[in-house]
């Protein structure tokens, strides 16, 4: 067994891999921001009156749900420069691969978030909105002050799951040559002449596992902190 598995490689992998987590988080973070904004837009398209917009938003979500991340990643990687060149004549050959990674996972996260936001808003009783409007709030005020704060709490656990999902799907970014924590792991393995891959991959798995558990716990805490208020409100 020893000639195949050397625990020393596993320990040595951590200090080499951990600095690259920054990049993984950075990409996921930007994707979450853009994805949430686009997801918000999609959620309102789904709940709006326009049939065409509804159909578009639902179609988008279905397509995203049915496309494997790696396929979407490569479609963006080859498709965006092609479209930019064909329609605007812009050459995107030298652009950083991180941009494609961010675009891909923003698109994917938006589809997830549109469902999370829609179901959260729709879970709020319609009477809340009617009551708000009846006491003289404008529809925008009613959303901002009454609906959103309640929907936000309901959306927290699903948002956390989405965040974990986008971090995990982000592991595929190495396939287009992006050097994040997975890309670095593959570089380490290559520099070991493709031996001791198992140890490096186990280190990688441990890193992701710890991050996922940490995010889960953090979101559980956030949820608890926010739903405390709602309970005391009910009691009073």
């Amino acid at each position: 067994m020893e000639k195949y598995f050397d625990i020393q490689y596993l320990w040595n992998a951590f200090p080499q891999l951990l600095p690259y987590l920054k990049i993984t988080f950075l990409v996921a973070g930007i994707a979450v921001v853009f994805g949430t904004l686009l997801g918000l837009l999609l959620a309102f398209m789904k709940m709006g009156k326009s049939r065409v917009l509804q159909w578009l938003a639902h179609g988008y979500t279905t397509v995203m749900r049915c496309t494997p991340s790696i396929v979407l990643l490569f479609l963006v990687y080859y498709g965006v420069p092609f479209l930019a060149d064909a329609s605007l004549g812009i050459n995107l050959q030298d652009i950083h691969t991180g941009v494609f990674v961010v675009i891909t996972f923003s698109l994917q996260f938006a589809a997830m978030m549109s469902e999370v936001i829609r179901s959260a808003i729709q879970s709020i009783d319609k009477g809340q909105y009617e009551a708000a409007v009846s006491v003289g709030l404008t529809p925008w005020q009613a959303y901002r002050r009454i609906i959103f704060p309640q929907a936000f709490v309901i959306a927290i656990p699903n948002f956390g799951n989405g965040l974990i999902a986008v971090l995990q799907e982000g592991a595929l970014a190495y396939t287009i040559g992006f050097i994040d924590v997975v890309g670095k792991a593959n570089l380490i393995i290559a520099s070991n002449f493709n031996t001791h891959a198992l140890e490096i991959y186990i280190a990688l798995a441990v890193i992701y596992w710890v991050i996922s558990i940490a995010i889960e716990k953090i979101f559980e805490m956030i949820e608890k902190a926010f739903s405390k208020g709602s309970r005391s409100l009910k009691a009073s």
Binding site: P68, Q168, Y208, S212
Partner: protein
């Protein structure tokens, strides 16, 4: 410009990978379902040790990207198999094992963990009184599960089962990592000659889209059939 001739030709190349993707999906589901169900039962009945093992197993699979699970298992399994072969003097080169066997093991490993949670939440939707009522009319626990609990739990499990199946089909697109000749790899290899990657990925995209929408419709139809009892009782 897009090469339309290549686009159409490669579509059929991508399509030729569908049987492999479906085979891996079906085999993984068939292996994962009994394992997932048994472990879900150990979780529900809080059987010591097994409950903890199942918990850690689910946590690991849910906490790590599937590509990393593939990496780990694909470097781990050959070592184990090799040791096994050496011990029992089996003269068979480990690297000649067809990747589809690895695919079966890896995707079953992943899906079983997902199904534990699916079955656990589905079984918990069935009221405890159902089991007690079944016992009181003289059914054994096994009979009660087969005739009363599982048919009801299955209805609430179906949407999650559908998601798990779609995710599994999507995950087979990672077969390239174990050189499995499925949809993505076949079309990609086709594109290697003329660098027509964009066309190849458009084809792959369409094939997965069709496949997943078909699976979703199939589950919707199945769900409608299974939930007939709800209409009758209403």
């Amino acid at each position: 410009m897009l090469d339309f001739e290549f686009l159409i030709d490669t579509f059929f190349v991508a399509l030729s990978g569908v049987p492999v993707a479906i085979l891996v999906t079906v085999v993984a589901l068939l292996i994962a379902m009994p394992i997932g169900f048994l472990l879900a039962m150990t979780r529900i009945n809080k059987i010591p040790v097994l409950n903890q093992i199942a918990k850690i197993y689910v946590s690991f699979v849910r906490g790590t990207p599937i590509i990393i699970q593939i990496f780990v298992l694909y470097s781990f399994l050959p070592i184990v198999i090799n040791m096994f072969f050496e011990k029992y003097n089996i003269d068979y080169p480990v690297y000649d094992i067809h990747p589809i066997w690895y695919a079966f093991v890896i995707f079953s490993f992943n899906t079983a963990a997902v199904l534990i949670e699916v079955f656990r939440s589905a079984l918990s939707t069935v009221d405890k009184g159902q089991l007690e009522a079944a016992h009181s009319v003289g059914l054994t626990t096994a009979q009660a599960y087969r005739r009363v609990i599982i048919p009801q739990a299955l209805v609430s499990a179906l949407p999650n089962l559908c998601t798990a199946t779609v995710n599994l089909i999507k995950a087979t697109s990672l077969g390239y990592a174990i050189s499995l000749q499925e949809i993505t790899l076949r079309a990609k290899v086709e594109a290697n000659f003329g660098y027509n990657y964009l066309e190849a990925y458009i084809d792959i995209f369409i094939v997965y889209l069709i496949l997943c929408i078909l699976v979703e419709q199939l589950f919707k139809y199945w769900e409608k059939r299974l939930s007939r009892y709800k209409v009758a009782s209403a």
